[in-house]
């Protein structure tokens, strides 16, 4: 018990997470984003997201770790559409983490907001606390029509009924890159070595992913762009995703 308390004290000390090698960060340039949804399918393929069917879709039980939100501005004929990809913001001060009664969701040393499926008991509190609405609950154990299951990514577990899930920043790809770095006797992975599925697929190169603890990383430079902002900043969740707003000429 004492070690637990010690660790808790250590972890809650301000600046504890600053001492680690990584802080995974994403930038999304809305001036490049066209709302094409290539990222949505990339995520579906990479992370074994289920096909829920029309009926369950109608009940808002779809599971899409990344989605494109669309907002209209103005009225015809002076009307504009704004797209914004919405996924887990991996907040440094995440409301969902404080809510979980069983620590199924917690913050790891890399700055990721992590979900431990076999710890989750399905209270769904985290989904209520999340202001970005990016947590998805498995109301059913979904199956795949044979032989669609042959496509499933063996690096990612398939979730079952009663478990909350969400974007992991493709933690399996981070894992592989770290293993490769270790095999090469490198302390850190190189910039650009970790590419989540959505970032990889993006046809307009709107998304960028990297370690913001590395000042030379592309993402660190992109974050400083004057167009940069975080969504719902006033809630002080400190998201790890920086959006670059669209330029209105």
């Amino acid at each position: 018990m004492s070690t637990f308390v010690e660790k808790l004290r250590q972890y809650s000390k301000p600046g504890y997470y600053d001492e680690f090698d990584y802080h995974w960060t994403m930038t999304i340039d809305l001036d490049r984003c066209t709302g094409c949804e290539a990222c949505v399918v990339a995520c579906q393929a990479e992370n074994n997201l289920p096909i829920v069917g029309e009926e369950r879709f109608a009940q808002s039980r779809e599971i899409k770790w990344i989605r494109i939100e669309r907002y209209w501005e103005g009225e015809y004929p002076n009307i504009k559409m704004g797209f914004i990809p919405m996924l887990c913001q991996h907040c440094d001060d995440a409301p969902c983490e404080t809510a979980c009664p069983v620590y199924a969701t917690y913050h790891n040393q890399d700055g990721l907001n992590t979900q431990i499926y076999n710890r989750c008991i399905g209270t769904r509190t985290c989904a209520v606390y999340c202001p970005y609405e990016v947590r998805y609950f498995n109301w059913f154990t979904y199956t795949w029509d044979e032989p669609l299951e042959q496509q499933l990514n063996p690096d990612v577990s398939v979730r079952e009924k009663g478990v909350m899930e969400k974007c992991t920043f493709c933690i399996q790809r981070i894992r592989i890159a770290k293993d490769n770095a270790k095999d090469d006797d490198r302390r850190r992975v190189r910039d650009g070595e970790v590419v989540p599925a959505c970032v990889q697929s993006c046809p307009t190169e709107a998304m960028l992913f990297g370690n913001s603890k590395d000042p030379e990383a592309k993402v660190s430079k992109m974050m400083k762009n004057t167009r940069g902002y975080t969504v719902l900043e006033e809630l002080n969740t400190t998201p790890s995703i920086v959006y670059l707003k669209k330029v209105h000429a």
């Binding site: 340039d29 001036d31 490049r32 066209t34 709302g35 094409c36 949804e37 290539a38 949505v40 399918v41 990339a42 579906q44 393929a45 990479e46 074994n48 029309e54 879709f57 109608a58 808002s60 779809e62 989605r67 494109i68 669309r70 907002y71 209209w72 501005e73 015809y76 004929p77 009307i79 504009k80 559409m81 704004g82 914004i84 154990t141 029509d145 044979e146 032989p147 669609l148 299951e149 042959q150 496509q151 499933l152 990514n153 063996p154 577990s157 398939v158 979730r159 079952e160 990889q200 697929s201 046809p203 307009t204 190169e205 959006y243 670059l244 707003k245 669209k246 330029v247 209105h248 000429a249």
Partner: protein, 748 residues
């Protein structure tokens, strides 16, 4: 122990691998099946458990020809990504391309050759390959001997590379001139207009990436036009790829597409007058002195009639807007105008595209960065020169079928019963054909009419090669290879043709001696290699072949594509004509213009059987699983229509019933319906879902290109009083001051 083939072995190993991940599925009382693990005596090439292998090949989900890399684990395809060294996809891929895995592992694939008991039903019986090929081969062989080979027809989708050559050769050797292609998405009008303006109908490379001002007349270059993945990255770089310089885009179309949403300015001109809009801009460019070429006087007299005031009255776009856009277009260093979509689908489609090409002439952007860069017809792989024949080709085929001139119809990779208007009568005409053979991976509306269905490998299980069209300004040839062993008792389409050739006999097997498509392609590549390699150079074809196979693509980035642009603008000037489209149905009886549009997910309906795409919210409306009809909020209000009200949309050619969706970015008086749903026979994910708007399109045609004028139908809309729930993900569609799109970008 009985003999185990490599394919079986891979499947067993795959089953073992799934057991772990699938364990959680058994929680619901499913008994675990007994699985046998068979040790590998000789492991297949490139195979080690737990290690992923990537194979490069070519996407076949649309005609762009993107290079793809497929991730293989334990003999199963796991993920498709863009091939980073391929100049078309440049490492990127769209939603449709990634859903290729749903094609390969689709539960509704045809697994064995089938013989149909009665047409139009699902009543089919399995038949062996030998029996099927013997029956079909002897039937075709008899026609050939009798000198009736002209009664044999081959209809395919858009086909390029050596498969196209194989088809052409097969039909030639038979003695039939009737090999034709039909693809709803093929831009016939664009090709015909470019033939006039630039002297070649090979699609040019539009250098969007380096343009400063992009003026798009209906071309949804980010979703469905020509090469969406390539143009998406080009768009991204147009916006943010150059330091301190952001290109501007303007989109002219009656209903906002993805490209319209991305544009700085979206203008809904009166449907059918988009070409006239282009001439109005051209008029200003010339009259304001912005254009300073030698042939200014010729332009001036050709464009005299199209003054801003006249164009403004016709297009219902203000004079100020026309003049302002013309000024910006003229003042930009690299201006580019493109045409597609509804602009290239009126009764005067070619004239409209010529009008847009005139802008490119006036901007002087031919062959320049940020302009129109011509591709030459590439000599390798030998271009057989087949391109889809549009509505005219389909009508000719229908007439021949009705007249009883067709005895054998071979159909591959095209679904004309679905993607032609009902009035064309393709399905009814097919009933007059004594023998229909479908070479297909899936049951669809056209294969349903077949007597024999020969199941083909999907593109992920086949050999092939391809020349991307449009090209990228320099010679490129892609090579595709099977990335997994065939799942079922299917054959590559090339192998089926070669087997038929052997079956028919005579001179066919002498001229087509190859055992398989792989052998044929390799043989042709070797010939080409030997020809190009001069003496003294290292002649090692195998090494070259391996290198291309690994890269998935062969290209010569340094070499210009060869095509010298037709620098003279006189053909364009001579071709300037009144481009206003005519419509079927008069305005009093049919007050609305029907705007059927291609969606980035289903295209002309071919993607509707893929579950990932059915569950992908439509980019502009967020609707899934179904059809809808978009109406302007003001129009809907006037008619008392709300979302989900079932409308009856009636054209002179037929009617459909579809729920209404209130869409704020559509011109009043236009009703837009997405294409793609409405299949009656296309597997479990697509069948009996939504409606197909192509069916009620009137069979008007653009005379010059012979293409279907699918945007030239008027309709009337009545509220039936019934209601149907539209399944969508959107809730609140306004930001309501939450600054979600960024500080200062929130106008509520």
């Amino acid at each position: 122990m009985s003999k185990i083939s490599r394919r079986d072995l891979l499947q067993y190993i795959g089953a073992g691998g799934i057991g772990v991940a699938g364990g959680v599925l058994y929680g619901e009382g499913v008994q675990r099946k007994v699985e046998l693990l068979i040790p590998q005596v000789i492991p297949p090439e490139d195979y080690s458990p737990g290690v992923a292998t990537w194979y490069n090949t070519v996407c076949n989900q649309c005609s762009a020809g993107c290079g793809i890399s497929v991730r293989i684990r334990e003999g199963k395809a796991k993920k498709i990504e863009g091939n980073p060294v391929h100049p078309v996809s440049r490492g990127r891929l769209c939603a449709r391309g990634q859903a290729g895995l749903n094609v390969l592992y689709n539960p509704d694939r045809i697994r064995t050759p089938l013989q149909s008991a009665d047409r139009g039903s699902e009543n089919t019986a399995e038949i062996s390959w030998d029996d099927a090929l013997t029956t079909i081969g002897s039937r075709i062989g008899r026609l050939k001997i009798e000198g009736n080979a002209g009664r044999i027809r081959l209809l395919t989708g858009r086909t390029r590379g050596h498969l196209d050559e194989l088809f052409a050769q097969f039909m030639n050797l038979l003695g039939s001139e009737h090999y034709q292609q039909y693809d709803f998405t093929y831009p016939s009008a664009l090709a015909a207009a470019n033939k006039t303006s630039f002297g070649t109908d090979v699609l040019p490379y539009y250098d969007i990436e380096n343009a400063d001002f992009l003026l798009s007349f209906g071309a949804d270059y980010l979703g469905t036009w020509l090469s969406p993945v390539h143009y998406s990255l080009a768009y991204g770089n147009l916006r943010q790829g150059r330091q301190g310089q952001r290109g501007k885009t303007v989109q002219i179309e009656p209903r906002m597409s993805l490209s319209g949403a991305a544009a700085d300015e979206w203008i809904a001109a009166r449907p059918g007058t988009e070409g006239l809009f282009a001439l109005g801009i051209a008029h200003v460019l010339v009259s304001s002195g912005s254009y300073t070429g030698n042939d200014r006087d010729e332009w001036s007299s050709a464009l005299q009639a199209y003054s801003p005031s006249m164009v403004s009255a016709e297009t219902e776009v203000s004079e100020d807007t026309i003049v302002r856009i013309a000024e910006e277009f003229g003042a930009s260093t690299a201006s580019l105008a493109i045409a597609g979509g509804a602009t290239a689908a009126g009764t005067n489609a070619v004239a409209s595209v010529v009008a847009v090409n005139a802008l490119n002439h006036l901007a002087g952007n031919l062959g320049k960065p940020g302009g129109v860069i011509l591709n030459s017809a590439q000599a390798f792989p030998a271009a057989a020169g087949s391109s889809p024949a549009g509505l005219q080709g389909a009508l000719d085929l229908v007439a021949a079928m009705q007249a009883g001139d067709v005895e054998v119809l071979l159909v591959h990779d095209t679904n004309p019963v679905f993607s032609l208007p009902h009035n064309v009568g393709f399905r009814q005409a097919m009933e007059n054909v004594p023998l229909i053979v479908a070479l297909s991976s899936f049951h669809d509306e056209t294969t349903a009419m077949a007597d024999f269905i020969l199941p083909t490998n999907t593109y992920l299980e086949s050999w092939g090669d391809d020349v991307p069209d449009p090209g990228v300004g320099f010679p490129v040839t892609s090579l595709s290879q099977p990335v997994v062993a065939p799942l079922y008792d299917t054959l590559p389409v090339g192998d089926i043709i070669l087997s038929l050739a052997r079956q028919i006999g005579g001179e066919l097997p002498i001229h087509m001696p190859w055992a398989s498509m792989e052998e044929f392609i390799k043989d042709r590549w070797r010939e080409e290699y030997d020809e190009r390699m001069s003496e003294g150079q290292d002649q090692n074809f195998e090494a070259f072949w391996q290198a291309v196979l690994e890269a998935g693509v062969w290209g010569q980035p340094g070499a210009a594509a060869g095509g010298q642009p037709e620098s003279s603008s006189s053909p364009t000037i001579a071709a300037i004509a009144d481009p206003v489209s005519k419509f079927a149905g008069d305005e009093t009886d049919y007050p609305f213009v029907l705007h059927p549009y291609l969606t980035a997910t289903f295209l002309d309906g071919r993607g509707a059987n893929l579950p990932w795409l059915q569950e992908l919210p439509d980019p502009m409306t967020s609707v899934v699983y179904g059809s809808w009809a978009e109406l302007n909020p003001v129009t809907a209000d006037e008619l008392g229509i709300e979302e989900g009200d079932v409308l009856e949309i009636e054209s002179p050619a037929g009617s459909i019933r579809v729920p209404a969706f209130i869409f704020p970015a559509i011109r009043p008086g236009v009703v837009a319906v997405p294409i793609g749903q409405g299949h009656t026979s296309y597997g479990r994910y697509a069948s009996d879902r939504g409606i197909n708007p192509i069916h009620i399109v009137a069979t008007l045609m653009d005379k010059q290109s012979g293409d279907l004028a699918w945007a030239a139908t008027r309709v009337k809309v009545t509220n039936t009083g019934e209601r149907l729930r539209i399944v969508k993900t959107d809730g609140v569609t306004r930001t309501l001051g939450r600054q979600i799109l960024g500080p200062g970008n929130d106008h509520g």
